[in-house]
């Protein structure tokens, strides 16, 4: 999982969902973001850059950090 999501901060604005180049993200039934297709994530960081609520962050996978 490359993304850390804070659903408490998420306001369901849909910006990250709209601009994800790989359609990784969706809003769940409570209107909060979740990773619908985590394997498609390329860690481009656009969701993190454009989130107004600091609710989503790209974190390096454990394999990468160990290198």
């Amino acid at each position: 999982m490359a993304l850390k999501i804070n659903q408490k901060f998420c306001k369901g604005c849909g910006i990250c969902v709209a601009f994800c180049p790989k359609q990784v993200l969706e809003l769940d039934e409570l209107g909060k973001v979740y990773e619908k297709a985590p394997e498609a994530c390329i860690m481009c960081g656009q969701c993190e850059l454009r989130c107004p609520d600091f609710a989503i962050e790209v974190i390096k996978p454990v394999k990468e950090a160990a290198k």
Binding site: G12, G14, L49, R50, P52, D53, E57
Partner: protein, 274 residues
């Protein structure tokens, strides 16, 4: 540790802004600029006026100052002049800076005092419920322009350049990487820097003017912004209805607090010779 983790004032979160408001995006972009430059957190002061934009200072972990409507720049001027070692950033809104704060804006440009001003430009008065601002486009609907705004808006960049600012840039909430870059360059400029940051107010501006939700408003920013390098090669008719982003102006001019210190040195030197 991300810039947000380092510099956000955790105890003040969650912020008050509406879902999809661009202000949080601008705030994050500014924190990334501060982080990119590795500014001394102790010596960095954030000053804001009043409005949705100006709530940003409360969420930042520095010496932060939330002033009165339109008055961030005089407070910031006092801070910078009294202690020129401090990095002073002003976060303000389009109404805060060009309506009630207009006089302070043009004089700060003229003095070229080393302050970086980021204008959260959503062309509306959001906090008070959606009244027109000096940046509202002609024809826009607002609560105080229910039949369509009959006024022309300012061009903030042109105003700042004419008044003497030595670094002027424009960015958007969509073009967040370029915005961080522009803010960083503005901070590095030893003089008055203005960054006109186009951002969306989906609730008060977007709904009334049928601009769709936050993502659509940011798509609008993407579709209508032209980078200055590209704009230079375009014909005027192709630029109709678009706005230019990037570094719009950079010049050199004596900086106010440096000139004042030189004057002090001169005066104190003369005293010795008396």
């Amino acid at each position: 540790m991300s810039a947000i983790d380092k510099y956000i004032r955790q105890s003040a979160l969650p912020h008050i802004w509406c879902p999809g408001c661009g202000n949080g995006i601008l705030l994050a972009a500014i924190l990334r600029a501060i982080d990119k430059l590795q500014l001394d957190q102790k010596k960095t002061v954030i000053v804001s006026g009043i409005g949705c934009s100006s709530r940003a200072s409360g969420y930042m972990n520095f010496n932060t100052l939330h002033t009165a409507h339109g008055r961030a720049l005089p407070f910031a001027t006092g801070i910078k002049l009294a202690n020129p070692e401090l990095n002073v950033l002003v976060l303000t809104g389009d109404g805060d800076s060009t309506a009630i704060g207009g006089n302070h804006f043009i004089h700060s440009c003229r003095r070229n005092i080393d302050i970086t001003t980021i204008i959260f430009n959503n062309c509306i008065y959001g906090m008070t419920g959606g009244q027109s601002s000096p940046l509202s486009p002609t024809g826009a609907i607002a609560t105080t322009a229910p039949y369509g705004h009959i006024e022309r808006p300012f061009d903030i960049a042109a105003l700042a350049i004419a008044a003497g600012a030595t670094y002027v840039a424009r960015g958007t909430a969509f073009h967040t990487v370029q915005l961080t870059d522009s803010v960083a360059k503005g901070i590095q400029n030893k003089g008055f820097s203005v960054i006109d940051a186009i951002t969306q107010c989906p609730i008060s501006f977007g709904r009334k003017n049928k601009m769709g939700g936050p993502a659509q408003m940011m798509q609008w920013q993407k579709d209508h912004a032209v980078f200055i390098q590209a704009a230079a090669k375009m014909k005027p008719e192709d630029l109709a209805g678009k706005f230019v982003i990037g570094e719009l102006h950079k010049s050199e001019s004596p900086e106010y607090t440096a000139e004042y210190d030189k004057m002090i040195a001169r005066v104190q030197g003369k005293g010795d010779q008396a």
